[in-house]
Symmetry: C2
Subunit: 354 residues, 2 copies
């Protein structure tokens, strides 16, 4: 088992519970036959699901955990139950060297707090960031931070850029990712001081990426950059705004199709196209956000993910383990610190308006 | 002319120039026959357009301005040309009491800087905010600030809420608008200290609105609140992300319809429905962002607005003048200060994760 990629699964997390998580593991194991799982959850639940999922049954070890973190648990109370919960024990398996990554569809705040406390941030990283893939008109883009840090300084943003680029190389297979900072204008004078300093540093640094400067929110979805870097507050709002707008447009579309018998007929004929669109935008097709910057890989699935979505999240964990992303990030950061450019602070005039 | 609503137009602003602005004034004058215009621009351009737009010709005074603010002008240099440019002179007409509002499709940064310098902020307002209407599944929502202020404190957010509610009452006709703060979670513990304090103040205050707490980005577009309040950085990113996602979805839809002859036929039959959707989402149907909090009304049109869009922006100016929004805001603010609730600062624990 030692030379196979081992992923710890929080079997109890998410709306679908053990049935979805273990069925997803079955799909992932078929896709990546070398995968081996550590399953954390109640013995009964795991045993029942393994009856229906023979590949997982033959390529896993079940570890009983008596306790479960609920969606309503506060991070501060969750961390005290690290040793008894499926989520906490799955994280501890990384720390103990028994697994290279863990996947959970449970409480995001609890997962983040537990993962930080147990795994600690990598050397050179002040704060971990939550990164995910978003659909665009072309290839997917990596966006980070999606909510791990409400406020971010220049160093955080630069570190996020380094981590996001490593993520894009590993998961998207882009040799030299195009990286941009999210801002309210593309001109160098726009935005906060933190953003301007981060841009100056990234422009001057010799990193394995092409820094393209600032992008505005309307470029999320355009696909002309591979990595979009922002603070966790803005990233979270942007992600959810994109989701909400997607729902708005498809909702209006459904209303429009109902206006006459002609448009209803048109709808019937176009159903295939509309379903293809739905699949492309389906969050399950992009499921699996990653906490980058910890000594170990923690992948967060949507709570409401289906089997396909959860299997995608496990696939993301597999790719990041196979691509040895933690070592890539460590090397890039070390290189950045050794050759850190000296950059003067910009003056802040004319910086306020969009 | 004194008892008629007078709107000053920056005839030279926007991609469409005088032809679009004056044709839009013609449409607006037909819709609101009492409107009277002050037209600021080069004499030749105005004279030529008035030949084609008889209603404006009969209900306006043209004022020659030799100079124009370009899209590339920096705000700091623009303000020095306040007295000679069409934009600056139109703003000055409000200050002089000759107009109650002005509309420009020109350089946003220059407009903001000039308007602030000339009109000054209202008593009780620390910073003006840029507000606009966004389409939702139900009625439009007001969102502010959309980019006037990169960073906002608690007082700014509370003032934005008061101004946004007055805007919703005036333009949407909602007697008691539902107002919410944009955040990365709906729980009281989420977000920055500024947001938590603003929420506590708005919850305790006796204002002509229903404060509904925090909303997340995916509620932009849902239509279940009337006013969404946020800082200018986040608001700008959210607005542009919504625009970008709208383009992404409609772009993918167009790709999907091209996949087979069946879907192409479906497209032909559904064209009417798709056009209706396009009209609903068309930025021109929602054009006209307002700088609230100044001693005078300044309406910013999209630079690329067409005649319909520009006419909508002029209509927004008309409605705000007719509804006497500046006095409403002054009264609500005065009332808030007199009865300001005393609220304790929350502790900041568990505040970071989405």
């Amino acid at each position: 088992m030692t030379d196979r990629p081992v992923i710890a699964l929080d079997v109890m997390g998410g709306d679908g519970g053990p049935a979805v998580v273990i069925a997803a593991a079955e799909v992932a194991q078929e896709r990546y036959p070398r995968l081996f799982f550590l399953l954390f959850g109640t013995q009964e639940a795991i045993r029942e699901q393994l009856l229906h999922n023979p590949r997982v049954a033959g390529n896993s070890i079940a570890v009983h955990s008596a306790d479960v973190i609920l969606g309503t648990d506060r991070p501060s109370t969750a961390v005290r139950r690290q040793r008894t919960t499926s989520m906490g024990m799955a994280i501890a398996a990384i720390k103990a060297g028994e697994a290279q990554a863990m996947v959970s569809a449970g409480n995001t705040g609890a997962l983040m707090a537990m993962a930080k406390l147990t795994l600690r941030t990598m050397e050179g990283i002040d704060r971990p960031a939550l990164a995910a893939l978003l659909p665009t008109l072309m290839n997917d883009s990596v966006v980070l931070d999606l909510g791990a840090n409400v406020e971010c300084d220049t160093e955080n943003l630069v570190q996020f850029a380094v981590m996001g680029a490593a993520f894009a190389r590993t998961v998207l297979g882009v040799e030299r990712p195009r990286v941009a900072l999210l801002n309210i204008g593309e001109e160098e004078l726009k935005g906060t001081e933190e953003l301007k300093m981060a841009a100056a540093l990234l422009r001057a640094a010799d990193l394995p990426m092409t820094f393209t400067g600032f992008v505005e929110g309307d470029k999320i979805g355009a696909g002309d950059v591979d990595v979009i870097v922002t603070d966790g507050f803005t990233g979270n709002v942007a992600l959810k705004t994109a989701e909400g707008t997607g729902k708005l447009v498809t909702g209006l579309l459904a209303q429009s199709f109902r206006t006459s018998w002609l448009t209803q007929l048109g709808y019937l004929l176009s159903r295939g196209a509309l379903r293809a669109l739905g699949r492309h935008l389906d969050p399950n097709a992009h499921n699996g956000a990653v906490f980058l910057g910890l000594n170990g890989l923690v992948v967060k699935s949507h709570g409401g993910a289906n089997v396909r979505g959860m299997a995608h999240a496990i696939g993301v964990a597999h790719d990041l383990v196979a691509g040895d992303i933690t070592r890539r990030i460590a090397r890039d950061l070390d290189n950045f610190r050794t050759h850190r450019p000296v950059v003067a602070a910009n003056d802040g005039h004319d910086a306020s308006v969009a």
